[in-house]
Amino acid sequence: MKSRFLTGVAGAALLAAALAVPANADDIKQGGSMIVTYKDDVSTLDPAIGYDWQNWSMIKSLFDGLMDYEPGTTNLEKDLAEDFTISDDGLTYTFTLRKGVKFHNGRELTADDVKYSLDRVANPKTQSPGAGFFGSIKGFDEVSAGKADSLSGVTVVDPYTVKIELSRPDATMLHVLAINFSSVVPKEEVEKWGADFGKHPVGSGAFELAEWTLGQRLVFKRNADYWKPGIPKLDEIDFEVGQEPIVALLRLQRGEADIPGDGIPPAKFLEVTKDPQYKDLIIEGGQLQTGYVTMNVKMPPFDKPEVRKAVNMAINKDRIVRIINGRAVPANQPLPPSMPGYDKDYKGYPFDPEAAKKMLADAGFPDGFETELYVYNTDPNPRIAQSIQADLAAIGIKAELKALAQANVIAAGGEPDQAPMIWSGGMAWIADFPDPSNFYGPILGCAGAVKGGWNWSWYCNEELDKLATEADSITDPAKKAEREALWRKIFISIMDDAPWVPIFNEQRFTMRSDRLGGPDAIFVDPVHIPVNYDYVWAKDVQ
């Protein structure tokens, strides 16, 4: 009787704890922990080097940069920078640093550290995959060529002021200063650990690394001295690696894990998303991604805009979305809906095989033609390509599928005369930062239409390139809307030339356990992928 009474009390207490969900974010108590699982080992936590979506969000929790984004959004906000000014010509950025910010080793972060970190990422010896983002900083070319060790454009004015001079106006500079590669690192720790800094990261972020057992787990502990009051919410995050997504899902269902970092395994997706008991635990969000078919405008018959438009009208995008169990939304333009500059009024080319056939006939191909469609050979890409192949066949285009390893498809796309058509799935394109220019230069601009580049349709419109340069020269944050409108115009003009068939924008689905709280937006944060760890809180400590 006694034990039953106690169980009842404990049960009521648990229930009360579960119900005691604070309404106001400021009322949320810090404490508790969560378990996040991943299949692969974490590769590196060096912010200059880490460039996969598994370490991306971890690095964001360990390090800070001058700029960041409001949690769950793509809106820039000041992070280590207390304030900044931009000169009228858009060439000089002056940042005032927040005082009293400390690295995990206890030392105060100063302007010297900012300069050191930017010099380090630009230095070819660091082998940073993000070095190219800093190309507009004065002195970058000298450092990149190994002629200098230090960026001449970055100067320390005083311990709390740093000045960044550019060689050309670059409206994306604030975004660049918000990506992981710009994170501020302490020189003494980098020099102490050398090439192993990625295994012993020391930053100034909300969490610090407490333990790393290779191949098994990483433990992040709360940075008690973190400068943002009340952040992070959790005391500890345990990342357990080496767990297949299917195992991670089973463990979550049993209450042994909180977030399957690799997402819901495709084989279980429909079963889990249709189950009412998980309805509130699965959060859907957009992703800065577009999947598209490129048509090489240098290879006939795709040199004719009519042919490219006909292909645009021939492909049934809804069916392709069904093939991947609805994990995407059909696209009609290069930019994804959550990207600034997206044109929500643009209707795109309609799905109309009859009109497509007629347009093809008018262009001089009443009987169609033969071509090749290159595709990355892992599921679901070949299935998607087959669907495209069937749609093309319906208007008389016989496309042979070339399903190859990722590296081979990318190599073929980087040659001017190899791949007439490519389905981009599994390779391109996810934005590095939420700015439309990131969707132009490398994949649609003239700069990307070079050997080994990523502009696989080899589309180069010099007029649009000029507009793009113009848009990127609008550096005044107050003119943000004007700049977005210019980009909108550029991307819709591209659709008039139709070098791509935009197919879909992938959606993200994060599953979390019932123990975790936090606004939905942070579980599908567009910048912290998969989850913004700093703002997750535990219901059991409320």
Partner: protein, 306 residues
């Protein structure tokens, strides 16, 4: 004896050299450019070129292989392209888990295989014998990922007796050891059965019976020890068998050993890790075979090493 050992060591070294060359050639021919992979998609051509130079990837094949071998003899396996960590450190961190799993698997296969073989031999040509032999055949033939997932589903997911993968306690060890051991158990059951049948027909068994020993004494005092002799020598060879099995078993059960490391590295074309794990596995196989050959004459004096 000494000259035999020296000859075997020389042979082993040549085998390892051959394995390293063959693997290196295969990985060299893979149509993936490591420099481009490290540099990432946002890299400039200049960055890619720098990385290629720093890693020595622009050198001709024989020079690249030479550099690798030169590092190898100094115990340097190189640094992982993606994890940026010494390969030797990555392997060393994971080797204990793999060795533990192998020890568990050896226990499983001996206990299960030998008892099955013993019972089958004693009940020769009965229904029990037939059932056991069919089971052992199934054990030998079933792919490990099927057995692994089946065991995981039944005993961990449905019955909840064991954790769903992971590492740390004895309970974590049972299912992966069993999965890895079942294949060998099948072989051992069949070998033990035939070996026992062979021994039971020998004159000294009849003599033992004739002098009035109990059935139990005849069996465990004379028959089993003699039947075991040819089998013990096989354990060394098993290590080779396990090396191919651990990649699958460790991946299914989330076991943090070198098999899982290899599997991840293969998917991400992390060449230094693939090379390192392949060489360590080759060493283990060579060593296992060597030990098997060295033990054989100790337990059976009729075998002479020359």
């Amino acid at each position: 004896m000494v000259s035999y050992v020296l000859r075997r060591i020389l042979q082993s070294a040549l085998i390892l050299l051959g394995v390293s060359l063959f693997t290196f050639v295969l990985l060299y021919l893979i149509p993936a450019d490591p420099a481009r992979q490290i540099a990432g998609r946002s890299a400039t051509a200049q960055t890619v070129e720098n990385i290629r130079e720093q890693l020595g990837l622009n050198l001709p094949f024989y020079q690249q292989y030479g550099r690798y071998l030169f590092g190898l003899v100094q115990g340097d396996f190189g640094r992982s392209y993606l994890q940026k960590t010494e390969v030797s450190e990555l392997i060393a961190a994971r080797l204990p888990a793999t060795l533990l799993l192998m020890a568990g698997a050896i226990v499983c296969e001996l206990v299960i295989g030998l008892s099955m073989g013993l019972i089958a031999a004693l009940k020769r040509n009965s229904a029990t014998d037939n059932t056991l032999m069919v089971l052992s055949f199934a054990g030998v033939s079933s792919p490990q990922f099927v057995i692994g997932i089946l065991l995981l589903y039944v005993f961990a997911v449905q019955l909840g007796w064991f954790p769903i993968g992971g590492y740390g306690t004895f309970r974590h060890m049972v299912l992966p050891s069993l999965t890895l051991g079942l294949l060998g158990a099948g072989w051992y059951a069949r070998m033990m059965r035939s070996s026992m049948l062979d021994v039971l027909r020998q004159d000294y068994i009849r003599t033992a019976r004739a002098k009035g020993l109990q059935r139990f004494q005849v069996l465990f005092g004379h028959a089993v020890p003699n039947a075991l002799l040819p089998i013990i020598a096989m354990i060394g060879i098993d290590i080779g068998l396990f090396m191919s099995g651990i990649v699958v078993v460790e991946s299914v059960f989330g076991w943090p050993g070198i098999g899982q490391l290899a599997w991840q590295a293969i998917q991400r074309v992390d060449i230094p890790i693939i090379m390192g794990v392949t060489l360590v596995s080759a060493c283990a196989i060579v060593l296992g075979n060597f030990l098997a050959d060295m033990i054989a004459p100790l337990i059976d004096p009729r075998i002479k090493l020359r």
